[in-house]
């Protein structure tokens, strides 16, 4: 005997299917897939309430679609053709939404929206005119924001993202959906990456976590210990993420003139370590480097590459006159030189005995004019007696013992005229002659006893500071009376 379908069954089935249709529409709005929408209208007379089919009354009953067996109660192949509809498959979502608790919240608040129809039916239409898609506006109608403000920064929004969304790391969204997540308008601002995103993350890391995992952060950030980053969950192994490349926009402060030379006073590990590893600093800094350099993370210890600075000479070095000027610059600010140069860099050239690269090639053969002119102070590096005179002696130019004639033959009666040359280029004299050569004539016991001092010579000062030197020419204190 074939059992006839009673009205109560038909109504229950209609309600169930209607609810299924309504819920299917909502799921579709959030990305759910459904082979064919349930014809809620055709079942309108059968199901008086949505929850007859959609069991969303209790927490955890999602998605609340009726099983196909429930459809088969009517669509048994006899009275009605069988249906194969199974409801939408479980769909990945990043929504933080549970019908039961949401309804309870609304009921508690005595909100009119505490009905299925409030969201799932077409306004002004019959109850079973279920929308296939729940528009976001339905959410925003209660959640305080105009749709345009959905992506507003946390600071400018009455609602936070986590009200409705779970962190990306807690979803199982496929990569194409992650890649297709909408980009908030503030992210498009030119200042967002260098400045804005950090401020925003500090104010509400949950907003970041809605669309990002910390993996995106550490693609650029080298400060993996940043507490803000710790508030953004990492992606589980099974979550496939779009590839993320590091980008390091130049902050406004770094655009200041001569920033590379002036950054020291504001360099702090807590700010530099956002983008820079210690290797960035070491591209220029040599030991001993400032403490902040050692406080930065090592590239090998972090995922991000860091900015990857390469040595860049300061602007002063680009001057064509820098070779001549570097001494003054170094003297005025040798701390700056020591940033990039070790002492050996200076001594390689300035070390007198074997310096090979300070003077240009061939300098020695023609150095006499330069030595007379003293464009550079030879004595800054060279000990005149040991360096100049020793070599001149080897070459045959140096003087040993009492002077003879013949060498300074380019000027007549040189001995009587050498005073001016000596006063003008005494270093050159000393590069061949030893002091004894002069004392032979200028000393009080010498041949001519010619005073080498200028009128107004401060003999008292000389005796006070270096009496031993006075005695090279004088036999006693020349100021003491009695002694010449």
């Amino acid at each position: 005997m074939r059992r006839r379908l009673g009205w109560s069954h038909l109504l229950a089935l209609a309600a169930a299917l209607g609810a299924v249709g309504a819920f299917a529409g909502m799921v579709s709005a959030f990305g759910g897939e459904q082979e064919e929408p349930f014809p809620h209208g055709a079942h309108a007379g059968l199901f008086p309430v949505c929850t007859g089919c959609h069991t969303v009354a209790t927490p955890g009953s999602e998605p609340g679609f009726p099983p196909s067996a429930q459809c088969a109660q009517c669509h048994d192949g006899a009275d009605l053709p069988p249906v194969s509809w199974t409801g939408p498959s479980e769909t990945a979502s990043n929504l933080r939404f549970e019908h039961a608790s949401h309804r309870l919240d609304l009921e508690t608040a005595e909100e009119a929206a505490a009905t299925c129809e409030a969201c799932h039916s077409v306004p002004g239409e019959a109850r079973m005119r279920v929308e296939g898609r729940v528009e976001e506006a339905a959410c925003f109608a209660c959640h305080g924001e105009a749709q345009d403000d959905h992506f507003a920064p946390s600071s400018a929004s009455a609602e936070s993202c986590e009200t409705c969304h779970v962190p990306l790391a807690s979803t199982n969204l496929p990569m194409d959906r992650i890649s297709g997540l909408p980009v908030p308008t503030d992210h498009l601002d030119g200042g967002f990456l260098p400045v804005g995103h950090g401020r925003e993350a500090q104010q509400g890391a949950a907003r970041c976590a809605t669309c990002h995992t910390v993996d995106r952060c550490v693609a650029c950030h080298v400060d993996t210990g940043n507490p803000v980053l710790a508030r953004i969950p990492a992606a589980p192994p099974e979550l496939e993420l779009p590839p993320a490349s590091a980008a390091y926009p130049l902050p406004e402060s770094h655009r200041e003139e001569r920033w590379d030379e002036r950054h020291a006073p504001v360099a702090e590990a807590a700010s530099c370590n956002t983008c820079h590893t210690t290797e960035d600093c070491r591209a220029c800094h040599v030991s001993p480097a400032p403490d902040v350099v050692g406080a930065l993370p090592r590239r090998a210890d972090v995922h991000a590459p860091g900015v990857g600075l390469t040595p860049d000479a300061p602007g002063t070095h680009a001057s064509p006159f820098f070779p001549e000027a570097h001494g003054t610059l170094a003297a005025a600010d040798d701390g700056s030189c020591a940033t990039c140069h070790t002492e050996s860099y200076c001594t390689d050239c300035h070390d007198a005995p074997t310096g090979a690269s300070y003077h240009p090639s061939g300098f020695v053969a023609g150095h006499s004019a330069a030595a007379f002119g003293r464009a550079d102070e030879c004595a800054a590096c060279h000990e005149t007696a040991a360096f100049c005179r020793a070599c001149h002696l080897e070459s045959g130019f140096g003087s040993v013992g009492r002077l003879g004639t013949g060498y300074h033959d380019a000027e007549p009666i040189w001995l009587l005229r050498h005073g001016q040359a000596a006063r003008q280029n005494l270093e050159s004299c000393a590069s061949c002659h030893e002091q004894r050569d002069c004392v032979q004539c200028h000393g009080v016991l010498g041949s001519f006893k010619v005073s080498p001092h200028q009128p107004g010579f401060d003999a008292e000062r000389a005796w006070a500071t270096s009496p031993r030197t006075c005695l090279a020419c004088h036999v006693g204190n020349p100021l003491g009376g009695g002694s010449p």
Partner: protein
């Protein structure tokens, strides 16, 4: 032929340097430094030249007194080690060494300093504690007063842009790294037979882009019987968007007189395609108070210089300079006529440096004034296919007149040098040059004839902390 008359044997090695080096080398080995970086290198140099010899003493008038001797060769080798090590288990502790050994490889004359087989050029330990840095050992001060070295200690306090230093120790002869009384023994009769001690202090500050360094040095004879020097210097540099200004002045406190000084203003124009520079300078030689030279009261010269740099075309740049200097009144008796008291120097150079490995340039220098004249033209061409690998060829001709001695002459020379970086740590370089002279005037022969050769190898050790490439230090 002995031309070492009057020179005693090499200054004795500094016991302190050896001890310091032993400690600094030994400590790192014992403590197994966490990391070290530096380089070792070896080089050899060869020169062939014609020394000048005196024909007779006394020299008969109206006849040449000097002539060129037969060509002689000399060669010397040196090995360098530069090393900075840190991470001995004490935060902020590091040691720095720069050692050099020399060997005379042979030849007819002594290469300068080749009789000094060992130099500890730098050998110190640094300890950084907060704002303070403590340094102990053989060290060097780079300043407007030159580059004095000393064995001793230094304390530096740094807070932001202000730095204050104080240092002291046994002073070393400039460039020799030995106490003056040891280094100069046999070279001078009137040098102190005792050590000299250095104390100094400096203050550096930076305000609104201007840097200022003031420094004071005082060197005292070991028995406190007098001073070897007492000087101060002031160096200033600043830059605005229009010009940069650099200035320096030193003052001999002991003699109450100013020494060197200059102020230079550089103005870049049209995005630095032009650079104009003008400077005014003053120079007077400085001699230690332990020599009589300073008491001879040398006079200063004042010089004005203008320079122009131009880089208006993509691959070309040029610069030119001219300087005029005048000496002060020497206060000497004029016999016959005064000697020259005005000097001039001018220079023009042109550089062609396109994208790619090739570059070429030419320089003409002219310098004439009291004592000497030099007119020199030099051209170079280089090929640098990669960093560390290069070949450079150069040629030069010059005329030189030495006013106070024997005649003048002209010379022509050429040279070639090259280098190759075998790995990122190992590089070789070498080169050679010849110079052939034709002397005019009283000297027979060609004393400037020279043949030079050199070669070197350098191996980098370690790397910067955290660095994956070894070559980023020692710049």
């Amino acid at each position: 032929m002995s031309r070492r008359a009057g020179l005693d044997a090499k200054p004795q090695s500094s016991l302190l340097a050896l001890v310091t080096m032993a400690v600094l080398v030994g400590v790192p080995c014992t403590a197994e430094a966490q990391q070290a970086r530096g380089w070792v290198g070896s080089s050899a140099q060869l020169i062939g030249m014609r020394p000048v010899v005196r024909l007779a003493d006394p020299c008969p008038s109206e006849t040449p007194c000097y002539t060129s001797a037969e060509p002689e060769l000399a060669a010397v080798a040196s090995q360098d080690l530069f090393l900075t090590a840190w991470g001995f288990g004490v935060r902020g502790l590091s040691t720095t060494l720069q050692l050099r050994t020399r060997q005379r490889l042979g030849g007819g004359f002594e290469w300068p300093r080749s009789d000094d087989p060992f130099d500890a050029m730098l050998a110190y330990a640094d300890l950084v504690r907060g704002d303070f840095t403590f340094r102990l050992g053989r060290q060097e001060v780079r300043s407007g007063l030159g580059f004095p070295s000393f064995d001793g200690g230094m304390v530096r306090w740094t807070r932001r842009s202000l730095r204050v230093e104080g240092y002291g120790g046994r002073s070393l002869a400039r460039g020799l790294r030995d106490p003056a009384n040891e280094a100069l023994r046999g070279l001078e009769d009137f040098l102190p037979d005792q050590g000299v001690y250095l104390i100094g202090t400096s203050v550096r500050g930076r305000v609104s882009g201007a840097s200022l360094t003031a420094r004071y040095h005082r060197e005292i004879l070991g028995d406190r019987s007098g001073l070897a020097s007492e000087r101060a210097s002031l160096d200033v540099s600043t830059a605005t968007s229009i010009a940069s200004v650099r200035g320096a002045l030193d003052y001999d406190v002991a003699r109450r007189s100013f020494g060197k000084g200059h102020v230079t203003v550089s103005v870049p124009l049209e995005d630095a395609r032009w650079i104009l520079e003008g400077s005014a300078s003053r120079y007077v030689p400085y001699f230690s108070l332990s020599t009589i030279w300073g008491l001879f009261e040398p006079v200063s010269y004042s010089e004005g210089t203008v320079r122009v740099g131009w880089a208006g075309l993509a691959d070309w740049s040029a610069r030119a300079s001219f300087g005029l200097r005048r000496y002060g009144d020497p206060g000497t008796v004029v016999v016959l006529r005064p000697l020259e008291d005005t000097g001039r120097r001018a220079s023009v150079d042109v550089m062609w440096r396109p994208e790619g490995p090739w570059a070429a340039g030419a320089t003409y220098d002219l310098e004439w004034g009291p004592g000497g004249y030099l007119g020199s033209l030099e051209g170079t061409a280089s090929w640098t296919p990669s960093e560390g690998t290069f070949v450079t060829a150069s040629g030069r001709t010059f005329q030189q007149i030495e006013q106070y001695r024997l005649g003048d002459g002209r010379a022509v020379g050429a040279g070639v040098s090259g280098g190759v970086r075998v790995t990122d740590r190992l590089s070789f370089s070498g080169g050679g040059s010849v110079l052939r002279a034709r002397t005019e005037g009283g000297v027979a022969g060609d004393p400037w004839n020279q043949t030079r050769g050199w070669s070197s190898v350098r191996l980098l050790i370690g790397r910067d902390p955290g660095s994956t490439t070894p070559g980023s230090f020692g710049r």
